[in-house]
């Protein structure tokens, strides 16, 4: 109320400044702990910077980036990143879609099923990773025992120690971890489709399949696109599960780009080269991020 007693000019100014003043704590802190470090990373990527030689911080321009493009491991990691996304996302999406369609039906224990399905989402990734290492164990793992008993394999397979299977074993783990997210998002989309559409379609004699194709899919297409974008960005970035399960090995069999950047910095302490890998990877992701932001931006105002 006291603003009303003040001169009109000051009150108007205060009203103009207030929104920014309210924003400033969050904005300033994120500038300090997110945007400033990112600029620092870009800056480091232009330097020779190895942590055990802290005095040596020489500007080398794009040398690290050129080196990365000529680095065999960079291309191996990039290939794995592509396989990793191309398999994990569709697998999560299909399983999530199936789960959501089932959860959208009426059955007595639906609330229980809906609550239990999101458990993988709540578990720490370290726990998930170690749990699956134990499942894949060559000597005592339940997966080998299960497949042996069914007669599907003749001898135990060291899933994570074999370069041919390691990446796919991790992809299965990631699928398990991420499909509940899709299920929940898609379920929300399904529930926003008016029931009357289906009733009208049934009256016209449309089959379940046609109803799915002409009503359900268009109805959830927005959610599907958003979920796929979000999840692709997330899966591409995620390195904790791989790092715990194989550490990138055997050899380079499970290296992805962000993991390579992390290992370069953590193990070799080469922060210059590691940063340049991180920056390269970020630039590749940027296209997806822009598409997502465009979609999200439409929802504002």
């Amino acid at each position: 109320m006291h603003t009303m007693n003040e001169p009109v000019g000051r009150a108007a100014l205060a009203r103009k400044v207030l929104p920014y003043a309210l924003l400033s704590p969050a904005v300033l802190v994120t500038l300090a702990i997110v945007f400033f470090p990112m600029i620092q990373a870009a800056w480091m990527s232009l330097h020779d910077y190895v942590l055990w030689k802290p005095k040596d911080f020489t500007f080398v321009g794009l040398k690290n980036f050129v080196a990365a493009l000529g680095d065999e491991v960079f291309w191996i990691s990039l290939k794995h990143t592509v396989i990793w996304i191309a398999l994990t996302i569709p697998a999560q999406l299909l399983l999530g879609l199936a789960t959501a369609l089932l959860l959208n039906q009426q059955f007595p224990w639906r609330p229980v099923a809906r609550a239990l399905i999101i458990i993988p989402w709540a578990l720490p990734s370290v726990v998930i990773a170690l749990m699956w290492v134990w499942i894949y164990d060559a000597n005592y793992g339940i997966l080998n025992e299960f497949l042996l008993r069914l007669g599907l394999i003749k001898a135990s397979i060291p899933w994570l120690a074999d370069p041919d299977t390691a990446l796919y074993a991790i992809i299965l783990t990631l699928t398990w971890q991420g499909f509940p997210f899709f299920a929940v998002m898609i379920l929300a989309g399904l529930q926003s489709i008016p029931r009357s559409y289906y009733e009208a379609a049934s009256l016209d004699g449309a089959s379940t399949l046609r109803q799915f194709w002409h009503i359900t899919l268009p109805g959830i297409s927005g959610v599907l696109i958003t979920a796929v974008l979000l999840r692709t960005i997330w899966v591409a970035n995620s390195i904790d599960v791989i790092y715990v399960m194989t550490g990138g090995g055997p050899g380079y069999a499970t290296y992805t780009l962000p993991l390579y950047a992390f290992i370069k910095a953590r193990t070799n302490l080469d922060f210059g080269y590691g940063s340049s890998l991180a920056v390269l990877f970020t630039l590749m992701l940027l296209g997806l991020v822009v598409v997502y932001l465009r979609r999200a931006g439409r929802g504002i105002d």
């Binding site: 309210l22 994120t30 480091m44 399983l95 089932l102 059955f107 749990m131 998002m185 359900t216 958003t226």
Partner: protein
Amino acid sequence: MIGRKSLPKRILTVDLPMLVILAFTLGPYLWMLLTSLTSEDRLFTEGPSLVGATVENYVRLFATVGFLTNLVHSFIIAAGTVVVGLTLSVTAAYSFSRFSFRGKRYLLLQFLIINMFPVVLLILPLFVMMRVLGILDTHLALIIANATVAIPFSVWMMTSYMNGIPKSLDEAAMTDGCSRLGALWRVVLPLCTPGIIATGIYIFITAWNEYLYALTLGGRNVRPITVAIQTLIGEYEVEWGLLTSGGIIGAMPATLLFLIVQKRLISGLTQGAVKG
């Protein structure tokens, strides 16, 4: 898609497939639980089984490995992140939800974009920065690192909760003599409490489960459970009984909290997605 199905048909097309998916979802977790209840010497001779179930792994976890200290570290970090994340974002969310001003769109998108950058891109400079500041391996370091995720998330969620509260309520409060901040404090915040609690709990879960920052920026003096569980491998030559019981205990708080708030949380999380 709707319409009444006969019972046998429903069981065949709904209940059964759902059970298969649930078995896939819960199987690995239950297998971990079963392993943790089997004593170490039986594990490698007979395999995990409920026969002769024992809690000896859990006892050992707390008695010899000192798991309690790790739980305390995790708690301090997660609770600290909740406090930082919530307090910094309340006024920002209020500003986004109640005012229109130049650059609002970009500022709001700015908060959305943060969580899309690769963790690696942040982890390297944060390590260097914290080394210079001399705060590596402290609770503060990990709270700051987790806040990079918590603040944007919290701003985004609280803005959506506050948008759900009619502006006319603030205006009524201000006609009754409240200042802007008074209206926020006395009217909007109390109405948002359920949303704030859900957001806080989600931040707690994420910080509790976080691993890479904890490993890189902490790990020696400050060793939260995620890092502690991982080190059980090295120090004790993969004792799976011990490891799985660590996994069960470490995952417990977050899992329970998640089950409690899932409904409210999911409606908040999916709101933006459904609109888009």
